[in-house]
Amino acid sequence: MRLKAFREGEAILFTLPALVPLLVFWFGPLGYIVYLSFTEWDFMSPEKLFVGLENYTYLLTHADFYQALKVTLLFGFGTVIPIIVGGLALALLMNSKLRSTGLFRAMMFSPWVTPTVAVSIAWSWIFEPDVGLANLLLGWIGISPVGWLQDSTWALVAVMIVTVWKSIGWSMVFYLVALRNLPQDLMEAAAIDGANAWDKFRGITLPLISPTTLFLSIILTIQSLQAYDQINVMTQGGPAGSTRTLLYMYYQSAFESFNVGEASAIAVIIILICVLLSGLSFLLSRRLVHYS
């Protein structure tokens, strides 16, 4: 009996060095922020005022919130889908019988390793409206220059381009691994049965790599909900709120207007969206994802 208690204690002891910071900086704050979202506070006043659902009703009746929600959704779809589809396309391109693809792979993966702040600064220069490279390229294909980061329709597109550029090589490597694990004999059998490349892709490749697709879509969605660095460097949410995602709105109301209650309510909504989407993907995965 004593031995058993000792074993329990020893195991708990092993988990503590990770468990304590995990509770203090992850799960503790998670509970705390739900409480804060029912209060009103400005970092200064001695007491936090309990206001019930007021922060939520305020948000849900103001256009700013819906604007940020719209930007968040646009940014989410506009980055997750290109990263997944593009990554898969690149992986298919590279998976064929080509020699020395190592260098290409490294070149495409490298943006993922570099600091977002530094590359966003470089991209800001590329998107410079008067002398930037982006407008030069548009000029080559006969499109008149746009204002990019200073234009409320194009700023979000610019931020999305940088985000996709940064992660597309990363998702490509995921797909390369998945493609290499495909059973070769199945492919050959299909070929003998007269299946063409498209049939094989639809019927075999796509279902067999669906676990990777599911994993990527969850991780990338969570990442897109958390995007901050590139927005902060390139547009700071502007112009006219056109790149202000929910997360950026949360940051601004917490650390620029010191509105702790409202900020917390936004954060709770972000977390709920995350939970909802993750749950949805799991449900979806039961029907669509093929685990071998």
Partner: protein
């Protein structure tokens, strides 16, 4: 599964093992050759496009202020001005910023090696009642957008009097769900018989973990350390929030400060690009040397959804 099996699994994780079977000297039909040519061309174009922003950063940093504002832009600088790099390096304490980033990242790596492996070992090779809930918690941690809880974390750090300190920067980042997860995957592939054998010899769990198990999952440690280092070196949002003291700025926050001030002083773009280039340089060098290990992280984290 025994040790040799788990070794084999780790070896098989290496990227690039796939295509080798195709390298025999078969005669390739003309149609297929053309197809290959087209694929090559597409790959070359895409790779160059992906790497182009880096090239642009480095060469823009070499131009004069006059040249950089010319349209259409020059693709190779007319005169090479390395002095821009020196100017940028000297106009803000970049050496200090880089030291901060590297120092903080290394400390975090060391702590995470210890706490993540102990946690992962407990979750895989020790028996205790809370094992299930703890595992679920780690998995759940993967789904939580950490950025969303920065506000309460900030308030907690404030209560602990750890704002504006190296200790705060290090401790608040001292745990990573990814690291725990990655090591858990690795430990699951090591036979439990080894633990039992160790215990028969009278070794404690602590000894078994560090002298028997750890050497077996070296490659997972390498991946974990590299990814953690990269993440922490690049970290911007959280460190910026919890430090006001300019001496404690990490390199991204320092660079961003320089960028904003450069804007105020009449857009010194060549210097800004130069500064971005030398901020990125250490990582690209690291990547060049540890490419395979870094890309292996993908193989390992891809296992997340299989359990």
């Amino acid at each position: 599964m025994n040790i040799t099996d788990s070794r084999k699994v780790e070896q098989e994780r290496e990227l690039g093992r796939g295509n080798k079977r195709e390298r025999s000297g078969k005669i390739v039909p003309v149609g297929e050759q053309i197809g290959r040519m087209i694929r090559y061309v597409v790959l070359v174009v895409v790779s160059l496009a992906m790497a182009f922003p880096f090239y642009w950063m480095v060469t823009s940093g070499l131009k004069t202020n006059d040249e950089i504002w010319r349209f259409p832009p020059t693709f190779w600088p007319e005169s090479i001005n390395w002095s821009n790099y020196a100017d940028a390096w000297n106009s803000a304490p970049f050496a200090r910023y880089m030291f901060n980033s590297i120092f903080v990242a290394v400390c975090i790596c060391v702590i995470q090696v210890v706490n993540a492996s102990m946690m992962a070992y407990a979750l895989t090779h020790m028996k205790f009642r809370l094992k299930g809930p703890f595992t679920a918690m780690v998995l759940l941690g993967y789904m939580i957008p950490t950025t969303a809880v920065y506000l309460p974390s900030y308030m907690i750090l404030n209560e602990l009097h750890l704002l504006d300190s190296y200790a705060g920067l290090i401790i608040s980042n001292s745990v990573s769900v990814f690291s725990i997860f990655l090591l858990r995957q690795a430990f699951m592939q090591v036979s439990h018989e080894l633990v039992e054998a160790g215990q028969l010899d009278g070794a404690s769990h602590f000894r078994i973990l560090w002298t028997i198990m750890s050497p077996l999952i070296r490659s997972s440690f390498a991946v974990m350390i590299l990814i953690t280092f990269i993440e922490q070196y690049n970290n911007y949002f959280w460190p910026m929030l919890i430090t006001k003291d300019p001496d404690l700025r990490l390199v991204s926050a320092g660079l961003r400060g320089f960028f904003v001030e450069g804007g105020a002083y009449g857009l010194a773009w060549p210097q800004i690009m130069a500064a971005s280039a030398f901020t990125i340089a250490p990582l690209l060098v690291l990547f060049a040397f540890a490419q395979k290990t870094i890309m292996q992280s993908v193989n390992m984290s891809a296992g997340v959804n299989k359990n």
